[in-house]
């Protein structure tokens, strides 16, 4: 049975698009699922760039909903990953170009051909958000360990519940174990405690995300990336597998590390690289 998942957050810049790209690629690559990623951020499309498919766009979501082309014509097949497709957003229109009813119809259409329909929601809680959630069955809320992002996530939880969504899942992005350990960043438990929703996964801050976005290749396919590993685990959880959330093995700082810290010199542990985490 196919599923329509919306990836949302309220706040911008927390990693909705990166999450959509990685989960989509993960499900297609490791689970052989037929996946379509829909960029619902009309006017500010980005998913195509993150996926490295920006040069292949002919038609977009607005063209489809306005009947200017057939759905199949607008779908871009990712040649690197079998079974992975993208429906890009329009860049020249704005969010009012599509209605929630049209989105619902589109999702139902896609449902027939795909195992997963992933919708990359725009930031904010206005029309674009309403469009993005209209045809979705389930929601993934992305947040980062910051006051503003968690506040907006809470707002989204409320709005989703008001729209009849049951149990949205939380994805905590860009966490830095070293800062959590120092007491300078909210921990996973802190955020779960405040938001009171179920956790889908935790993605650590990882420079490789920047590199992979530069290249237009999702980090989930990079076996050496920690964030990629986190996304692989999340992919498996979406498929219903029980994957332990995380185990933590801290490498104790050596005497020299402590000495360096005393003088404010960055050390392995201070950068978080000495801490071994799995997500």
């Amino acid at each position: 049975m196919s599923q329509v998942l919306v990836i949302t957050s309220g706040k911008g810049g927390v990693g909705k698009t990166t999450t959509t790209a990685n989960i989509g690629t993960g499900l297609a690559l490791y689970k052989q699922r037929k996946v379509v990623m829909v960029d619902a951020d009309i006017g500010l499309r980005n998913l195509d760039v993150v996926m490295g498919l920006e040069n292949r766009i002919v038609y977009d979501l607005v063209d489809v909903t306005h009947g200017l082309c057939r759905l199949k014509q607008a779908l871009i097949k990712d040649k690197r990953f079998e079974n992975l497709y993208l429906l890009p957003a329009a860049q020249t229109k704005d969010k009012t170009a599509v209605t929630p009813e049209q989105m619902e119809k589109l999702c139902d259409e896609l449902r027939k051909d795909f195992d997963y329909v992933l919708i990359d929601c725009p930031a904010g809680i206005e029309q674009g958000f309403k469009n993005a959630i209209a045809g979705a069955d389930k929601a993934i809320i992305v947040t980062t360990p910051e006051v503003s992002a968690v506040r907006d996530a809470d707002r989204i939880v409320g709005l989703l519940e008001a729209s009849g969504f049951e149990e949205p899942k939380l994805l905590i992005n860009r966490i830095r174990p070293d800062m959590v350990k120092r007491g300078d960043m909210m921990s996973i438990e802190d955020m779960i405690d405040i938001l009171a929703i179920e956790l889908l996964g935790v993605v650590p801050e990882d420079e490789k995300i920047v590199v992979s976005t530069n290249r237009g290749e999702p980090a989930v396919a990079d076996e050496t990336s920690r964030a990629g590993q986190a996304y692989r685990n999340i992919t498996r959880r979406i498929e219903g597998e029980e994957v332990p959330l995380m185990t933590l093995q801290e490498v104790e700082p050596t005497f020299m590390d402590k000495l360096r810290m005393l003088f404010g010199i960055k050390t392995r542990t201070a950068k978080g690289e000495g801490a071994k985490w799995t997500f």
């Binding site: 300078d184 960043m185 909210m186």
Partner: protein, 93 residues
């Protein structure tokens, strides 16, 4: 946090500050209480109380906060601080 002071660390960790601020913000967000709404409650309270006592309107403070209900549950609470200047003894019925 007293034990931290003993060890010379007076400041609370920044994540605890973040958590506490968030909690208060969310009490307001979830209750959907705007400053305008609080102003309305305030002016009506003044009206009612003024029949019985003279109050210092400028020193009056009304806010939404959290209160411990029992060990580990907290509930939103409306807290009003109303300085009384003088009692009006017309209510001796």
């Amino acid at each position: 946090m007293d034990f931290l002071k003993i060890f010379g660390r007076e400041d609370i960790s920044s994540k605890d500050i973040a958590k506490e601020r968030l909690r208060l913000i969310l009490v307001h967000d979830r209750a959907n209480v705007s400053p305008k709404f609080l102003e309305m409650i305030k002016s009506q309270l003044i009206n009612i109380i003024s029949d019985y006592m003279e109050i210092e309107e400028d020193g009056m403070e009304i806010k939404l906060t959290r209160m411990k209900k029992d060990e580990d549950t907290t509930v939103p609470a409306l807290v009003a601080n109303i300085p009384i200047r003088r009692m009006k003894h017309l209510a001796k019925i």
